[in-house]
Symmetry: C2
């Protein structure tokens, strides 16, 4: 079964890690959000690509959800004493990844090529594709005006009230090499439990990707469990945009999926999800261990098989 | 006595450190070579400014002659595993200095302003002035063609045979703010024991600086002791350019100095130095301890006083 996973940050990376463990080599391709990408201190930083790479390489920090587990902070501590801005936390080893990505991009290499090279260096065999090689920048419209995503997310800790989102550059961005081919070959496209507003919507906003995804069998996994996000501001965003955060709200967000996976705590929403035309599947979706990642991945794939979605 | 010191890297920084210890606050200004400056990985690196700052801040690594004593290498080790170039050794803490300088220059601040701010952050009270805010780049003409200085010095370890030097940009560079005023006010200008070819010549090549220096009382300290440089390629350069490396050769290099300090091992060159119109002073010039730096600084200043140069 050829699987394409659409992923943003932590939740997406965890499910991708589970899928990579249970799928035969070569059957999984990941398409990753780059709307969070930004330039900081002259470095090209791609937070979601980094999270997916670090997670698949077994290097991710499970406590923070970003950066590396085995990290030191000599650079940032010194940078602070010299007056440099430290709102974006750059560990010594993490900095090396940003520096090498930036060095290669400055040489004229594409983001997809650089990501493939870095993945190889990190020993990752799953193809990780940025959604586009062209810059797409998620802008958050808030009650305090427009904020670049990292300013909203990190510097302001998601405090401003959200009014809407804009994926600047998406309308003229092309899917990165390999994205369209992977989608065409996909037996199923999995919407990972990433933030719908700012992780998966930017991917779907790239012309060609949204339509290609809709042409394939699709299954989503709710990123809202018991009315809250496991991590991140998704629930807060729903509430601020006037939608009660729930698994159903996520399913409605992604209208047109063939199937949708919700957590056992949300089992009462099963019929409502069926009523909007999606096959519901109820299980424990909280990936709090490597074993839980693999089990959820296995269950999602088995459910896809049972539904004969992928035929 | 108002003192201006012209300095390049290690030897210059050591004498400046001694001068800073024995002169009253406010009586010393340092003008530093920026011909070694280069851009690497998007960072603006100023090796001689760094060496002078680290030395005056008590942070310099006495073993390497560059970088910091208390250093870690997590960044560079990871960068290497990712395929990044490591010929220029960037420690985690050293990297922070380059990053903060670069960040400020990109904001439009001048190198002299940035250097003043970084010096303040490092607790340095001596004014450290780059020779110019405009880029001057030392190019080394060799038997293998033209090499940028750091390529010659670090990447090629001074191996190619030198044919000459070019201080690209010097002819249109202006002295940095404060440089001309400091020279006008100087009771004496000290040519530190730095490499004549690539540390002090670039400073003197900036229009206005050479003439202003010649208009003041001047004293040099030989960077060649017993026919060799304490550190660096000065002796090799002299030989390759057809000049026998000696204290006298350095004195002749800087024609027009009022006085010249040579090491006791070169005492036999005293009369030759007198014969080219410089007052010779013989002492132990090897600064192998903080005490030796201070003693040499004190002796140089006393000699200047005895000569009534600075009146």
């Amino acid at each position: 079964m050829k699987v394409v996973a659409l992923a943003g940050g932590v939740g997406g990376a965890k499910l991708v890690d589970g899928l990579a463990a249970v799928l035969p080599a070569g059957d999984l391709t990941v398409i990753v959000n780059t709307g969070d990408d930004f330039e900081h201190l002259g470095l090209n930083i791609s937070p979601d690509l980094d999270t997916v790479m670090y997670t698949l390489a077994g290097l991710a920090n499970p406590e923070t959800g970003w950066g590396r587990a085995d990290e030191s902070w000599a650079f940032l501590e010194t940078f602070e004493t010299l007056g440099g801005p430290t709102w974006f936390r750059l560990g010594d080893r993490d900095l090396a990844l940003h520096m090498e990505r930036t060095r290669r991009l400055r040489k004229g290499e594409t983001l997809s090529h650089v990501t493939a090279e870095l993945s190889e260096r990190l020993g990752i065999s799953v193809p990780i594709l940025p959604m586009s090689d062209e810059p797409v920048r998620t802008m958050v419209h808030t009650d305090e005006g427009e904020l670049a995503f990292q300013e909203y997310f990190v510097a302001r800790a998601c405090e401003p009230v959200v009014r809407g989102f804009e994926f600047r550059g998406a309308d003229t961005a092309a899917p990165a090499p390999g994205v369209s081919r992977a989608l065409e070959a996909a037996d199923v496209v999995i919407f990972c439990p990433s933030n719908p507003w700012v992780s998966l919507d930017p991917i779907l906003a790239v012309p060609g990707i949204g339509a290609a995804v809709q042409a394939r069998p699709t299954i989503g996994i709710s990123s809202i469990v018991g009315g809250n996000a496991i991590k991140g501001p998704a629930a807060k965003m729903y509430a601020e945009l006037g939608v009660e955060p729930s698994a159903l709200a996520v399913a409605e967000h992604y209208s047109g999926l063939d199937a949708f996976v919700i957590d056992a705590v949300d089992a009462e929403q099963m019929e409502a999800i069926r009523s909007i035309g999606m096959q519901p599947f109820v299980t424990n979706t909280v990936m709090d261990s490597g074993q839980a990642r693999r089990r959820l991945a296995q269950e999602v794939l088995e459910f896809v098989g049972e539904l004969e979605l992928a035929l």
